[in-house]
Amino acid sequence: MKILFSKWTVGLLLASGLLLLLGQLRPKETSSDIGDYEYESTRQLVTFVDKASAKVHREGTNAFADFRKTGGDWFKPDAALYLFVYDTNGLCVFHPVEPGLQGRNILDLQDIDGRHEIRGIVGVKSSGWVHFRWMPPGGIFPLWKSCYVERTRGPDGRTYLVGAGLYNMKPERVFVRDAVDHAVALIQRDGDKAYDQLRDSSNGLTFRDNYIFVMTPEGTALVDPAFPNSRLRNLTNIRDVDGRLVVQEILQRLQRQTDAWVMFMWPMPGDVHPSKRIVYARKVQLGGSTVIVGSDYPAPTPIWMKM
């Protein structure tokens, strides 16, 4: 009897109870593959939309009542987090922040730079990202907004595009890979006629300070973000702040493989300190010739890193 009430037994029971309690706190699994994302805020947004999309799939427009509840799981005005739903023609089906948009077809809506963001949303095949500049609730000036959108079918048989976005999101590796893949698809479809579209900053592929570039395997720029009207600049001698020949490294890597991720150091806009950036480049066959398509993004820098 004495052993039953010894401090070790009590400690063991308390520990077991704690472990059982912690077991109940285990995060629920999500069907989306969120392992590709670096930032927790991105993963949370993807999970959020994924769950909302599943709810619309199950409940159809009946889900909107829950989506509209202020301060509930689906609508957090303080964090500017809300869901929106469009149909495949650009008809706004649900928008809790601007209810006046509901019932209107806003397919041709453009942001401050001329991007057709609703066309971008409607163009999402199964799931994807759309970036544009948009007014935050109660704001004066537009900010960069990145929206994750999923296509789903409701119980009424209609197809819905369910999405949500965050303002000033940090660029993910996935964003730059998607942008380059889109640019490659455009070039493969339209040939060098696609270059004009890639030079246009409202093309939907430009996000914050990243741009699409196209060059020959010899390093001659075909789409040059720094000089949109020039086609002849040779980029092979471009060095980063540490003297690394970035373009030469990309070209060398692409001699052996079809795509490459190359790191370089360059200051972020508004900063004097160089930061780590990563360029993603792909080799594309265009008729009888080869072109290289790429873009870059600031590498995620851990909060503890002193650079």
């Binding site: 912690l22 077991g23 540490d242 909060i303 890193m305 002193k306 650079m307």
Partner: protein, 443 residues
């Protein structure tokens, strides 16, 4: 002739029964493992996969094992002949992480080899430049090394990897409980259990992480699939690179490591000799040489730089077993563990909150160690100003990181690291104020 203290059961040159030797060696490798979290964090932060993490941990263990054996030897000017084991050096972590971040593991390895060579050179001239590092400067260096670990430890503790990211409540809970276990064991006034505070905390943290799902099946699958014995290797492990801009930082951390080893060897001499009056220069030089060679070996093999462990020296004093044969045993066992991917793999999957808790636990000791060295040096106004000013401007690098952005590029290596700036200022101020005081006294 050294006089053996009464509390020492097994002296430096004593032979131990095999069973006792094995148990005491195992005890030391538990403590040596406490900082293996550092290469895990480092490789994970630069995007390394499980195999790469496991290999870097294993190679770090092998290098530390070699260093521990070299330190216990006395052969052709290498080794002090003391039980003064090596572990993965926390003071190297910040510099290694920056190198790995900027240029991958090849740059980290190249700079580590460079740091080792610096320490070897320092070992040859230590007796000539020892005046630059009085105790208060050494204490400040130790304090700034600890300060460099705060951001990493606290961010892992809260489960936050990047700026503006949300705090992870589950990570925070596991980290709090893990730290609470380590502290609860550590504050026990008596009993041998407190020698294993870090180990008990690690085990608790792993268990809590399994229960909460932070440590999932995927990670355990890696351990199950890993072979029991294998040669540690990763792609490009023999590639090295070098950057001059990082040289000042690595020179400073190398000197920090050398100073720490210097202090540990003095401690070894003291605990083995009741009549100790002054250090044995040949022994100290041999010890520094062994430590430098161990750092070189870490870089060449592909592990993270190592350092001698004050905690192990304290353990040998507490247990009364200072025989250098324990050093040979612990070193050999650590090398053996390095060749077991299953065992090193368990350390490689260390959960984020457990890392945070153990980093905070280790940093507590380092901060206290630095402060106590400073305070023991009988502070006077000269020391107060030289240490105080160096500390203020050193910390300003972390508090106001953009303040020094427009300084000339050649000076940037000094003004981009709180540790480097504080050390340089402390040395300059200490020497100039000493000179001014001497001049004033003569007048």
């Amino acid at each position: 002739m050294a006089r053996r203290p009464e509390n020492i059961l097994y002296g430096v040159e004593d032979t131990l029964p095999r069973g006792t030797l094995l148990l005491l060696s195992i005890q030391h490798i538990f403590l040596m493992s406490s900082t293996l979290v550092l290469p895990v964090v480092l490789v994970r932060e630069i995007g390394g996969g499980f195999d790469q993490i496991r290999s870097v941990v294993a190679l770090t263990m092998i290098a530390c094992g070699i260093g521990t054996i070299l330190q216990a030897m006395r052969w052709r000017g290498i080794g002090s002949g003391f039980l003064c084991p090596n572990l993965c050096g926390p003071n190297f972590f910040g510099a290694c992480a920056q190198a790995a971040w900027a240029g991958g593991l090849p740059l980290m390895q190249g700079m580590t080899v460079f740091a080792g060579v610096v320490e070897v050179v320092f070992a040859r001239i230590a007796h000539r430049i020892a005046f630059l590092f009085p105790p208060e400067v050494t204490g400040l260096v130790v304090l700034m090394v600890a300060e460099g670990l705060i951001t990493l430890g606290v961010s892992k503790f809260f489960g936050v990897n990047y700026a503006s990211e949300p705090v992870q409540p589950l990570d925070l809970l596991v980290a709090c409980l893990t730290l609470a276990v380590m502290v609860a064991v550590g504050v026990r006034p008596t009993g041998r259990l407190r020698l294993y505070g870090a180990l008990i905390g690690l085990v608790s943290g792993y268990l809590l992480s399994i229960v909460t799902g932070i440590l999932g099946h995927d990670q355990w699958r890696h351990i199950v699939e890993a072979p029991a014995l294998a040669l540690p290797h990763f792609e490009g492990m023999f590639q090295f690179s070098f950057q001059w801009s990082m040289a000042p930082l690595f020179i400073i951390v190398s000197l920090c490591g050398a100073l720490k080893t210097y202090g540990n060897l003095i401690l070894c001499e003291k605990i083995n000799d009741d009549d100790w009056k002054q250090s044995d220069p040949a022994r100290i030089q041999g010890g520094l040489m062994a430590d430098g060679l161990c750092v070189v070996a870490s870089g060449l093999l592909g592990g993270m730089a190592s350092d001698t462990a004050a905690s192990n020296v304290a353990l040998s004093s507490a247990t009364g077993a200072t025989s250098r044969r324990i050093g040979f045993g612990a070193g050999f066992l650590f090398i053996l563990l390095g060749f077991s991917p299953k065992l090193s793999g368990i350390l490689s999957i260390m959960p984020r909150p457990v890392m945070g808790a153990i980093l905070i636990y280790v940093t507590c000791f380092m901060i206290f160690s630095g402060l106590s060295i400073i305070m023991a040096s009988k502070l006077d106004p000269r020391k107060t100003f030289s240490i105080g000013i160096a500390l203020i401007f050193g910390l300003s690098v972390d508090f106001l990181p953009t303040l020094y952005a427009n300084f000339p590029k050649v000076l940037q290596p000094i003004f981009s690291s709180s540790l480097v700036l504080a050390t340089v200022l402390a040395i300059l101020l200490n020497q100039s104020l000493s000179w001014a005081t001497r001049t004033g006294t003569r007048q």
